[in-house]
Symmetry: C2
Subunit: 248 residues, 2 copies
């Protein structure tokens, strides 16, 4: 990369050990649209076959991974640095969650500030000298009884929060866009027919209970929010149940 893309953070793996984990981290980054991967002193050198295999294509989709001899060099072009740690350090720094760090990264990117997020090696995480380089600490809130997070899982959670912060997917999509909800006419036609057929077969035992029973049936079936195709399917089922062949 000639000029760092300040719209997204660099993910800096400091002294990573297993190529598998570097590859899995690259895959997690690409899942979330992050492409600026930097390595500081990877134990087994670079490139690494096991990383390539575990990245399942992610490394080919990003600019070449940059390798540095020190953490300082790796973050030289970054205005803002976050250190990920599972345990508190004896340093006075702001401690962010993955989500608040992601929000902060976006806010700073909007001001053209490039961020870097440091992740330590598998064995012991970042050392204190690396943490001292950071403006803030990121500790993902997790089950306090079991905080040991795999390297790639840690990268995934940070990258996921970064992606979430700018993603506009609706929380709940009730129907796939190509589906068309049934109109009130179609729906009421089907419900009216159902009531008639039920009535003809003495389903509503007493006149007194009939209005409530009808209301309950309508509520129950309307809750399903049928498409027009599903209304046709309901008609077909009603026909089948009453022993009538229809065009369905």
């Amino acid at each position: 990369m000639t000029v760092a893309d300040s719209t997204q953070p660099a993910i800096v793996l400091v002294s990573p050990q297993m190529g598998e984990n570097i590859g899995a981290a690259a895959r997690a980054m690409m899942n979330c649209g992050l492409k600026d991967l930097r390595l500081v002193n990877p134990r087994d050198g670079w490139p690494n076959e096991r990383a390539t295999a575990n990245a399942v294509g992610a490394l080919e989709k990003m600019p070449p991974v940059q390798v540095f001899g020190s953490t300082k060099d790796a973050i030289a072009d970054c205005q803002r640095v976050y250190a990920t740690t599972a345990r508190p350090r004896d340093m006075v720094k702001s401690v962010y969650t993955a989500k608040s760090a992601a929000d902060d990264i976006h806010a700073r990117a909007a001001q053209n500030e490039k961020s870097a997020v440091l992740f330590g090696g598998e064995r012991s995480g970042l050392d204190n000298d690396d943490v001292a380089l950071a403006h803030g600490i990121v500790t993902v809130p997790l089950n306090p009884d079991f905080t040991s997070l795999n390297l790639a899982q840690g990268v995934l959670l940070l990258a996921y929060e970064w992606f979430q912060a700018q993603d506009e997917t609706a929380a709940i999509q009730t129907h796939a866009p190509e589906d068309i909800l049934a109109s009130g006419e179609e729906l009421n036609g089907m419900l009216g027919r159902l009531e008639e057929e039920l009535e003809a077969r003495h389903f509503f035992r007493t006149e007194g209970h009939k209005p409530t029973m009808k209301r309950n049936i309508r509520a129950m079936l309307m809750r399903a929010e049928f498409t027009d195709q599903e209304v046709r399917t309901m008609h077909g089922m009603i026909s089948a149940l009453i022993g009538k062949k229809d065009s369905e």
Copy 2:
């Protein structure tokens, strides 16, 4: 587990292939406090040594994993079922994000409804018959150019959102709780001394600029929110810079 704990969802891995991935999924679950892991027809049987190794202790911390011969059996005690899929299916079901599914699971748990979340095998995900068993679909919003998510990563994101939804960690903790912020008196004592020493050394070249320069220095240093120890360190640095030995 004799009686299902409805406060948390069952994670159901349907036809998982590699023990490593089952273990990594168990680890991700424990990271987020989830302990109800169920397997449907695991390819290599159960228990599985590679799963145990990759779980790094998580499997010992949860009740025994339950193994079933069919997805239907695995969810028999669950009132609410979610199917995770990366691609849309030709079925009319609500599509949730990981976050909205997690919120829904909590809301239903509050009504004593037990949820299950289905995850398909590594090769091809859930088949349509499994998806048909679900009340809703979960599709994690990801980079549309690279949605291929490893099994354990998928479990992690769902579990993480479930944990987040009930976690109360402050978004940003400015100081570790054991640190004590400097009092106004300590802070102003140090800032006043700094100003005096600067003034004595003709730092403020013109009287006209002095008020603004003082304000800027105060703003800059107050932003750091020093602890009392740090104020002492500042005093020590000032002393050192002016060539004076003090008790620090």
